[in-house]
């Protein structure tokens, strides 16, 4: 039991995300599909949280609050996954190793319980990042 663990993050495509994306990135489907982090049960135990608890994920270049789940496509202990999209890209490092492709997979993050934090909508995150968010 600890209040903060370091994991190796990957971000990849999921069919739920694909469907939701075509419905619309402002849709509740997209929100539900992409604002989650999948991690191994052992790591959840370490963190002392239950499934569906909100957590704060922090990388070298940002942070985002997402909901922790185990997920059907299991990660081994130490590995975690956020589906590609708006929430993942709040923390994906833009460094490309001079190839043009950012570090979408294989970067260290810290995960800490944030049960009282609310998840932000896609628009709030993206418009917020560029100072255009007018909502609360």
């Amino acid at each position: 039991m600890t209040d903060l663990i370091t994991l190796n993050m990957i971000t990849q495509r999921a069919v739920e995300e694909g469907i939701a994306m075509e419905i619309g990135k402002t849709s509740p489907e997209y929100f539900d599909a992409c604002s989650i982090i999948e991690m191994n049960e052992q790591d959840m135990k370490k963190l002392g949280i239950f499934k569906n608890t909100n957590v704060r994920v922090t990388s070298e270049c940002g942070q985002v609050v997402v909901k922790a789940v185990v997920g059907r496509q299991t990660c081994y202990p130490g590995l975690c996954h956020i589906r590609q999209g708006v929430w993942a890209n709040q923390i994906v490092p833009p460094r490309t190793q001079s190839t043009g492709a950012p570090q979408y997979s294989g970067f260290p993050v810290t995960v800490e319980p944030a049960p009282d934090e609310r998840l932000k909508s896609a628009l709030a995150l993206v418009q917020g990042a560029v100072g255009m968010w007018k909502g609360e």
């Binding site: 694909g18 990135k25 709040q90 492709a101």
Partner: protein, 441 residues
């Protein structure tokens, strides 16, 4: 009387399925029913005739709101800003037909700017590997008709390419493979136990970020150095490496399908580079091919079109106007964004707002931002100008290139109802740019 249109192409993933059946309303304005399509494709056709579709360009107002303007005004705005910019960037083309991609080449050559496509954050590293090591590949029908061993490495078709396994790789009964799945061996190499791994005969749970070492191990076995193999490589036991090498060398026809699991991790292009080397090795013994699991239905398109136009598939620097230059790491969208190398951004047929790392979005937002896309997305909601266009495969046809570079001729199923297609829009922007340049000269 509703019309049924057969052999329709699906504008979603790199499978570019061309067997969709669409029923449209008598007036040809509404999609009523879609058959032979995956859940994702289904949504695209539905969206095509939704009432919420934007049908006029929208210009950002000082108060932050968007105001509808005419196409003429939108074309003028874009041409003026392209003309003014020292180094504009046009990026996207994940959902644009080849005619549109060719027109985009004309726009940016005229404007003297940068031209890039989604591969830059996706299979760009695969291009780098192809530059260095070639691409021993084949069309998907070869896999269907001949393959008895299939390797999915760092790719997850169950999620990213829903019909790939049933149409092309694992399940279909082909000419020399009448037994279909029964006579095929499926190997999945992925750090996660994915839904694709779930249907595989063998799953190698490679240690994330260490695929290169595992390829190196396979190559040692194929080249006769099995004895020098360590007991474990990248989390995989020696016995398993030998077992899988055995399956690969005994195959009559094998194919490696690789994806983001290789292109997005440390080493990027070199993970594919060495996969290609392994494929070359195996061709000394039997027949093997390798293929990139391209994401969008026509993301192979810009690579093909710009190669015959400029000699480079992506990351094009057209600022010199007499000649093109390409060097990902320098001329790639995310690198240029982070370095503040460009002073205007046109996002077309893609969503940089959602799919670029957020720091890159912040940098690009310092300059004028135009989004050309059929739908509302993150890019459109932060841009200064949003120009809606036809959806290829729904209200405009055209040629698209499947993940294996096979050209598929897409059909239009409903009327555009006033929307411009990418090709027309971009050519009108190019015409206006030529006028502006002529006036200046």
């Amino acid at each position: 009387m509703p019309k049924v249109i057969e052999n329709v192409g699906c504008p979603y993933c790199g499978c570019s399925c061309d067997d969709v059946r669409v029923t449209v309303s008598d007036d040809g304005l509404k999609v009523l029913e879609v058959e032979n399509v995956c859940a994702i494709g289904h949504e695209i056709f539905k969206h095509g005739s939704s009432d919420h579709r934007i049908r006029l360009p929208r210009l950002r107002q000082p108060d932050g709101s968007m105001k509808e303007i005419s196409y003429e005004e939108a074309i003028e705005w874009t041409a003026q800003h392209l003309h003014k910019a020292k180094k504009p960037l046009m990026y996207g083309f994940g959902s644009t037909n080849c005619e549109g991609q060719a027109a985009a080449g004309r726009v940016m050559e005229t404007a003297g700017g940068m031209l890039d496509n989604c591969a830059t954050i996706c299979h760009g590293p695969s291009f780098l590997a192809i530059f260095d090591n070639g691409y021993p590949s084949c069309t998907l029908g070869e896999v269907k008709n001949r393959a008895d061993v299939i390797v999915y490495w760092g790719s997850n078709p169950a999620h990213a390419h829903p019909r790939h396994m049933s149409r092309y790789s694992i399940f279909p009964r082909g000419f020399f493979t009448e037994k279909g799945h029964k006579k095929r061996t499926i190997i999945v190499i992925d750090p996660r136990f994915t839904d694709t791994a779930n249907v595989a005969d063998i799953h190698l749970q490679v240690k994330q970020g260490h695929d290169y070492e595992l390829f190196n191990a396979f190559r040692m076995v194929v080249n006769g150095h099995a004895a020098d193999l360590p007991d474990e490589v990248a989390g995989i036991k020696k016995e398993q490496i030998l077992e899988v090498s055995g399956i690969m060398t005994k195959a009559r026809f094998g194919t490696v399908f690789f994806g983001m699991g290789l292109t997005h991790t440390d080493g990027r292009n070199h993970n594919i580079d060495i996969a290609i080397s392994l494929t070359r090795d195996l061709n000394k013994i039997t027949k093997w091919t390798i293929m990139a699991m391209r994401g969008h239905y026509n993301i192979a398109g810009p690579g093909v079109v710009w190669s015959w136009t400029f000699g480079f598939p992506y990351c094009l620097d057209l600022t010199k106007q007499n000649y093109a230059h390409m060097n990902p790491g320098e001329t790639s969208s995310v690198d240029m964004a982070m370095r503040d190398e460009v002073d205007m951004f046109i996002n077309i047929g893609s969503d940089a707002g959602a799919h670029f790392p957020i720091p890159a979005v912040k940098h690009l937002k310092k300059h004028p931002w135009v989004t050309i896309d059929p739908s509302i997305n993150m890019a459109s909601e932060i841009s200064d100008l949003h120009i809606p266009v036809c959806i290829c495969g729904v209200d405009v046809g055209g040629i698209v290139y499947r993940m294996d570079n096979v050209p598929i001729q897409f059909r239009k199923v409903i009327e555009p109802q006033g929307l411009l297609d990418d090709e027309t829009l971009l050519n009108r922007i190019a015409d206006r740019l030529e006028e502006l340049k002529a006036q200046e000269a």
